[in-house]
Symmetry: C2
Subunit: 433 residues, 2 copies
């Protein structure tokens, strides 16, 4: 089923026409209403009337997280505060968080795009969505909440943690869709196993994932453990929250709701747009945000985009899942490495569990990489020879992927910290300490 | 300002006419759609057509928390699950929680009643509501969230905890309304003081309280610390959530949104209705709930109701703040004591802080009561003689209130546990251990 066929199946030309009109509109509003954009555009000598084609977007300066921080708290709002009905912030581990302000129209758009995505995943008014994302300043919980309400599904806003309660409600309330971060999903599966609850005996039908980068291999592990398909949900608080792009049952990319969020892929160094299919940094423009127009926002997320008519029937532009972030790229012995590459290699080898840590040290002058990964219980306790074989295979697979030698340590099952909520800490960088 | 003058200022007769119509409607729906009611009413030989006047409500059996638990999880729903869009549960510390299911109409009613209450407290589209209630299965966060959205205020859904972050956002976002439980509010005030932040320097204008019983004396302490008026918000997850009744600026009772929630006061022993002004157990009937009709629900909360035209102009029936619960009444040496009575006595004496615990023991065959309360810092460290005087005064004030002798211990400031979220634990009953 398609939630809004008129939009989700537009021809590329029709979509571009809509996008251009909306881009002109948002640039005009931003220039007139937001001092930040007025100054930046004036300095760059680019004005709303210069946007004659979609390609003209390249004339506009980027907006970065640093710009958002400098405008803290409400400097990017385009409407009086009384029109803002909800505020979220990014997690902002250091310094001030970035702020996202929503008018009623913005909340409606947010619910609408998530409604499209949930429908795409086969979820409807008969479904019961157990939402383990946190509610609060974080946008995770609310995106699915508003989208679920819009499609008339039953939302259980249980939020993070309370894993035993989660399992009880899955059983008692016939949960048909689970929403979680990959790392929390793994933890949940593990606790279910300990408690003798087989996910396959439940009413579960589909999983929606978000808030964390993941590899295909991680998805396979999760689908195997829960016995249902798992689909990706992408978004950023700054742009709107989860729901910028969601994955269809084809499972080879996410549809970007490009009538609201215009994507570009740029070379993070030259800042030039890259051709379709080429990996680079995703830049997003919120075409319809009323409260806080965000134009050419550098997401730091690495992916590529392609226009095609998808097997699911939608024409909405597709992006690959995020393969890393420009700022989570590790420089190790001068080589660029993404944690996702290591995850991919790790999970290609049988006999290990998807719980791992990447520990970087610099004992002397050279970087060293240690990968701690949990062996599967049946192997760890029974078979030393096999353990050595697995360790060597892992080291080889990682070397093949990133071109560097690593030390692999197979650790006892359940000895790597689990997360009860949010994102797992995969990289521990002790170099320079 | 009055959000819905047509309803909030109806004459008593007009309101009764509306209530009767709605009562007949909900009883009919419940009888026809919910097996629980069908059975109970059939057993009691009372049928929808027997409800000819509002007084006929007394013919209907009560619904208790035990009944709700027995119908766990969805036994009280009057619509197919696909029409339910949101589910909340009570905290349910023991056994299964009680479940509350909402259709879109129910969520709209919930937002509507909270909108009325916020408007009554002087809050509107220009206000910034910092909502420290938890979001999740608990209804606390969502009630204010939906009401705040409805009036067009800016809601900051920060949720519980993160006290330093709360203070930072109050400063940075110009929070004009704080929502908290009394115990968290006290903790917040204390941390602000430690950090040298004077609430009076902020943009704060009003406080909304909920989820915990409180005394006038506790309110005075909080108003004094924050320098703004604090109003009571009452509600129960089973009935709808916070928003069943809210307090107006007159501060002498809460207006019950009686067009949606029909109140009765009964004698908890005889189960007979009590006359206006008499304290008893509040029984509520949700007149308009679509998803889950709740008829004659015994709240266990003790209060009284009175019809009058309020100083604020509203005619909606008023209830006193909850003075206790039928199940938090303590039997001490055969005497019925409510913790709120002890709080009231404690806070009537100068020189102590609103942080206390009531500890019950039975060293031999007789109950003993120890009251631990924090002395004010300026007294605790400087003036032993004064301390003794205060202790004696406290013991006397409590004796005057409850008629029992208690041992009062004045403890060092900040030595009684603070709550970072939810409700304070005031009573420790070690009798029989």
């Amino acid at each position: 089923m398609i939630w809004d066929k008129d939009i989700e199946c537009l021809t590329h030309e029709e979509m571009q026409e809509l996008q251009l009109k909306r881009l002109q509109d948002v640039v005009t509003r931003a220039f007139n209403e937001v001092p930040y954009y007025h100054e930046r555009y004036s300095q760059a000598e680019v004005y709303p009337e210069d946007i004659q084609t979609l390609d003209d977007i390249e004339k506009l300066p980027f907006t970065t997280k640093t710009d958002l921080r400098a405008s803290y708290p409400f400097g990017l709002f385009a409407v009086p505060q009384k029109e803002i009905v909800e505020i979220h912030t990014s997690s902002g581990t250091t310094g001030k968080p970035t702020v996202s302000g929503y008018t009623k129209e913005d909340l409606d758009i947010w619910g609408e795009v998530v409604a499209r995505g949930l429908t795409m995943m086969g979820v409807g008014e008969n479904d019961i969505i157990q939402n383990t994302h946190g509610y609060g300043l974080f946008t995770g919980g609310f995106g699915v909440h508003y989208g679920g309400q819009k499609i008339g599904a039953t939302v259980i806003p249980i939020s993070t943690g309370q894993t035993l309660r989660q399992i009880e409600l899955m059983q008692d309330f016939n949960t048909s869709m689970l929403i979680f971060t990959p790392s929390y999903g793994l933890h949940l599966a593990e606790v279910m196993k300990e408690k003798g609850v087989d996910p396959k005996d439940l009413n579960l039908k589909v999983i929606g994932f978000g808030s964390e980068a993941w590899t295909d291999e991680m998805r396979e592990k999760i689908e195997e453990k829960f016995g249902v398909p798992a689909y990706n949900i992408y978004g950023l608080t700054e742009v709107i929250g989860p729901g910028v792009a969601m994955e269809c049952p084809e499972q080879n990319g996410l549809h970007i709701y490009e009538d609201h969020f215009y994507p570009e892929i740029i070379d993070p160094k030259t800042h030039k747009q890259l051709p379709e299919g080429k990996n680079g940094e995703l830049v997003l423009t919120a075409l319809t945000r009323v409260g806080m127009p965000l134009i050419r926002f550098r997401t730091k997320d690495i992916t590529n985009i392609r226009h095609e008519t998808c097997g699911c029937g939608r024409t909405l532009v597709k992006m690959d899942k995020i393969s890393g972030r420009t700022d989570d790229m590790l420089k190790i012995k001068g080589v660029s490495v993404f944690p996702s590459q290591i995850e991919k290699a790790l999970l290609s080898i049988k006999g290990v569990e998807p719980h791992y840590q990447i520990i970087l040290t610099r004992p002397d002058i050279l970087d060293e990489i240690e990968i701690k990964v949990e062996a599967s219980p049946e192997i760890f306790f029974d078979n030393v020879k096999e353990l050595i074989g697995i360790r060597d295979k892992l080291a080889q697979a990682i070397h093949d992927e990133i071109g560097l030698r690593v030390n692999v340590t197979l650790v006892e099952p359940k000895t790597i910290d689990r997360v009860e909520s949010g994102k797992a800490k995969r990289v521990i960088d002790n170099r320079g300490k």
